[in-house]
Amino acid sequence: MKATICVTLKPDVLDPQGQAIQKACGTLGYGQVSQVRQGKFFEIDLDAPNPEAAKRLLGEIAEKLLSNRIIENYRILSIE
């Protein structure tokens, strides 16, 4: 099975990288961009009997490893 997961900073955590990217957008002439928040994106191949089992497994992995729950949220975007 193939899955995708994204990890993003919680809204109240400062993201200086995102801010720098937002400023760079402005420098390029894209003044319309008012905010950028940077995150991480994972493509994962795994063995699981069905999507429900995969979801459970991926949730555990995201909790324990892919994200640090003090500052980050995660979302399983797709399982197929």
Partner: protein, 234 residues
């Protein structure tokens, strides 16, 4: 006996060994991260600075899974003395031995500079050679040193007196201008509730000789050594 843990990517391990062995005259050895047990006589575990596992995923996140970290966890749980500087602090946070996390510096710059930190408490095993309010000059060198924890956790750190070092100006005033990296409450170093695990971003092992940065680092490393010797005699 002091165990200096060596992860792939550690780069202050030998400086730590030099400070402990050559300067302070203690018995110390490098312990490779693949070890699953610490030497039987281990009294102090030091987690050095560097870029363990290339800082993959998050700083300190992969080192947590090193075989040796299980032994370090058991050592800390049994009341053993553990000190982590810089990447070592990040590893302690990712391992759950200390609360919170170190985020990218507020202004994104990698900082490499001598820094003033104020001692908040001198009644701990890590600061017994200092006085409360004393200003220590110890270098920092990091890209991700902005301490962060949620509001509840920050309150707990303050209430329990777990903050041992704060960034300050030369006079010892804890101000926003004196905060180099955006750490909450100007935190430069915190101890766990039990008081046996200490993490700090400054590098005491880089301030151990007059003429190259001064000797303020020895006040911290020396305090820890005193505590280990006192425990040995007890």
């Amino acid at each position: 006996m002091i165990a200096v843990i060596q992860f792939p990517g550690s780069n202050d391990d030998r400086d730590m060994l030099f400070a402990m062995k050559t300067i302070l005259g203690a018995e110390a050895s490098l312990i490779w991260h693949q070890e699953t047990v610490l030497p039987a006589k281990t009294e102090i575990v030091l987690l050095p600075g560097g870029f363990s596992y290339g800082d993959y995923l998050r700083c300190g996140a992969m080192a947590r899974f090193s075989p040796v970290m299980g032994a370090v966890q058991r050592f800390a749980d049994a009341g053993g003395f553990v000190l982590g500087t810089c990447n070592g602090f990040q590893v302690l946070c990712e391992s759950g031995l200390l609360p919170g996390i170190l985020l990218r510096n507020r202004k994104l710059h990698f900082l490499c500079q001598n820094t003033a930190v104020r001692v908040e408490r001198s009644d701990t095993i890590f600061t017994s050679r200092t006085k409360p309010g004393e200003v220590l000059w110890i270098p920092i060198k990091h890209g991700e040193g902005a301490y962060y924890a949620d509001t509840k956790q920050m309150q707990r750190l303050e209430d329990n007196g777990q903050i041992l070092l704060r960034y300050c100006d030369a006079e010892g005033s804890v101000t926003e201008d004196a905060n180099p990296n955006g750490s909450l409450h100007n935190i430069a170093g915190i101890v766990n509730e039990r008081g046996n695990v200490f993490g700090l971003m400054p590098h005491p092992e880089h301030a151990v000789e007059e003429g190259i940065g001064g000797t303020d680092g020895l006040k911290i490393l020396g305090s820890l050594l005193d505590a280990a010797l006192a425990r040995r005699k007890a």
